[in-house]
Amino acid sequence: MKKKFPFHIIVFLFPACFIYSIFMIYPLLDTMRVSLYTQNLLGENMDDSSGVRAFIGLRNYYDLFFNDTWSWHFWNALKNNIYFFLLHISIQTPIGLLIAAFLSNRELKLKSAYRTLIFLPAMMSIVIVGYIFNLILSPLWGIPQTLLGVVGLEDLVQPWLGLKGSALITVSLISIWQFVGIPMLLFYAALVSIPEEILDAAKVDGSSGLNTFWKIKFPLILPTIGLMCILTYVGNFNAFDLIYAIKNIYAGPEFSTDLMGTFFYRTFFGYQHQLGNPTMGATVASTTFGIILIGVLIYLFAFQNRITRYQY
C-alpha cells in the first residue's frame, strides 16, 4: 500500500507555494505565452475585429530583433544595458574590494562606523537617489562648479546628464555610487572568514601584506566575486527606477540612457504617438528573462563548481 503523504507537510508548504506560484511563476510563464500572440492594434494578423489575439508563433521575436520598428530600440537598449553592466563590474568591484580589504585589517579602528555609513546609500530608494543627483548635476544649481572651482577646474563642468556622449556613463556612476556597499559587505564577509592559520602561515613564510592579498586572499574570495557579478548582472538588467527618475521613460537624450527596463515600459504602455502593445511588451520581457537566465546559468556552471574546490 502506498504511504499517505503527511498532511501537516502540505499545510506548512501550501500558503507559500500557492502565492508564489500564482503571482510569480504563473505570470512569468504566461508572459512567455502572450509573447507568441499578436495585439489587435496595428491591424496585422488579426483573427477578426473582435479584439481576439491571434497566435503568430515567434513573429514578435523576429520583429523585435530584425524589424526596423522595434529592432533599433531593442539593440540600442541591449547595448546600453551591457555597457551599464560592464561599467558596474569594472568600477564597483575594485572599489568594493579595496574598501573591504582595508576594513578586514584587524588593527583598524572605527570599522563598524565606516561599514554602516558606506552601506547607507544602498538602503535608499533608487528614485530618491536619482532625483538627488539630478538636482546636484543640474546646471541651475551649480554644485560641480563650486566643488571643482576649489581646485580651479570649473571649466571642466558640463551638463553631463544632458549630453548624449556622457549621459549613460553618468547614470552608471550614480548607480555605482549607490551600490558599492553591497560588494564591500560581501567581500568583507568573505575576507574575515578566511581562517587565521592560513594567514599566519603565510606571515611566518615571510609573505608581505600585498603578496598575501593577491596570492592567498584573492583566490579564496573568487567565488564571492562571482556571486557579486551575477547579482549585479541581474540587478542591472532589471534596472528601471533610476532612469525613470532622472530621464523619465524617454531615456534621453536620444535614447542614449535607454535600458531594457525602460524599453519594456515604453513598449508595454506606449509613449507619445505609439500605442501600448502588451504582446510586444511580453516579448521584450521574455527576451530579458532569457538574457538573465543565460547569465545565471553561466554563473551556476562556471562558478558553483569552483566554490567546492575552495571550501575550507
Binding site: 508548504l13 503571482f23 582595508f102 565606516y114 530608494s125 528614485v127 564577509a189 511588451g281 538573465i292
Partner: protein, 278 residues
C-alpha cells in the same frame, strides 16, 4: 621602524575610508541640509548649514499644503508591515517543511522556490496586470501586498531554512516524545527560536518594498493609494520648479529609511557578514 610604517599604513587607510565615506554622505547632506533653507540660500550657499537668516521651512509648508503626505506614509507602512507579517509566517512554515521533513520532491521544490531569488518578478508584469484586473485588485493595496509577498518569499525561505538546519535535534525529539504534535512544535517551539534570522529577513523584505516604484506606478497610481515613493515622484513631477518643496519631499521620503537602517544596521551587517546570506 616597523611601528612607523604600520602607522603610516593605517593613516593611509583612514584617509581613503574617510574620503569615501564623505562621498557617500555628501549628497544626503546636501539634500537634507537644503530642505531647511530659504530658496535664496539654496542657490547662494548650497554647502553651508542653515543659520538664523537662511533657515526656512517654506518647502515643508508648501508641500503639506498641496498633498497629504500622511496618507502616503500610512499606505507605505501598511503595505510594508502586512507584507512582512505574511512573508515571515508563510516563509517560516515553508522553510520548516523543507528543512525538517524528508519527502519525495523535497529538493525539487526547494529549487523551484529558490528560482525566484534570481529572477525578477517585474518580468511578469504583462500577465500580472491582467491577473490583477480579473481579480479586481488594481488600485488596491491588497494587490501590491500579494505581489510583494510573492517577490519576497524565495529569499526568506532560503535564509530561514539555512538557519533551521542548524537547530538542535534533541530539542525537537524531546518535544515529540512529550506528545507535542507537529503544529505545536512549529508554532510554540521553533517559531520563537527564529528571532535572529527573522530580523535579517525583515530588513531584506521591508527595504525593497518600501523603496519600490514599479508596482505602485503600475498597479495603484491613482490618488489615495500611492506609496511614499510614488506620491513623492508624482509630486515632484508636478512642481519641478519649486526647489524648496522638492528638497522637503525628498528628505521626508528618505528620513524614515535612514532611521530604520541606523536602528537595524548592526543586526543587518552582522547577519550578512556571519554568512546568513551567501
Amino acid at each position: 621602524m616597523k611601528n612607523l610604517s604600520s602607522n603610516l599604513n593605517s593613516i593611509i587607510m583612514h584617509l581613503v575610508l574617510i574620503s569615501y565615506t564623505v562621498i557617500c554622505l555628501f549628497p544626503v547632506y546636501l539634500l537634507v541640509n537644503n530642505s531647511f533653507k530659504s530658496r535664496r540660500a539654496i542657490f547662494k550657499q548650497p554647502l553651508s548649514l542653515p543659520n538664523e537668516e537662511t533657515f526656512s521651512l517654506a518647502g515643508y509648508l508648501k508641500m503639506f499644503s498641496r498633498i497629504d503626505f500622511g496618507v502616503f506614509f500610512y499606505n507605505s507602512a501598511f503595505v510594508t508591515i502586512i507584507t512582512l507579517f505574511f512573508v515571515l509566517l508563510f516563509g517560516a512554515m515553508a522553510a520548516w517543511a523543507l528543512s525538517e521533513y524528508k519527502f519525495k520532491g523535497n529538493t525539487m521544490l526547494g529549487l523551484y522556490l529558490a528560482f525566484g531569488i534570481m529572477i525578477p518578478i517585474k518580468l511578469g508584469t504583462v500577465s500580472i496586470l491582467q491577473l490583477m484586473n480579473s481579480l479586481n485588485l488594481v488600485n488596491s493595496l491588497t494587490g501590491l501586498i500579494v505581489i510583494y509577498i510573492a517577490q519576497s518569499l524565495p529569499l526568506a525561505i532560503w535564509i530561514l531554512s539555512e538557519f533551521m538546519k542548524q537547530l538542535s535535534n534533541e530539542l525537537k525529539e524531546a518535544a515529540r516524545c512529550d506528545g507535542v504534535n507537529e503544529y505545536q512544535l512549529f508554532f510554540y517551539i521553533v517559531l520563537p527560536l527564529l528571532r535572529p534570522p527573522m530580523a535579517t529577513v525583515g530588513v531584506f523584505t521591508m527595504v525593497p518594498v518600501w523603496n519600490d516604484l514599479w508596482w505602485p506606478l503600475i498597479l495603484a497610481p491613482s490618488s489615495g493609494k500611492q506609496t511614499v515613493i510614488l506620491g513623492m515622484q508624482q509630486y515632484i513631477g508636478q512642481y519641478v520648479t519649486n526647489w524648496n518643496a522638492i528638497f522637503a519631499s525628498l528628505s521626508l521620503a528618505l528620513i524614515p529609511v535612514i532611521i530604520f537602517y541606523l536602528i537595524f544596521s548592526r543586526q543587518l551587517i552582522r547577519s550578512i557578514t556571519s554568512g546568513a546570506v551567501k
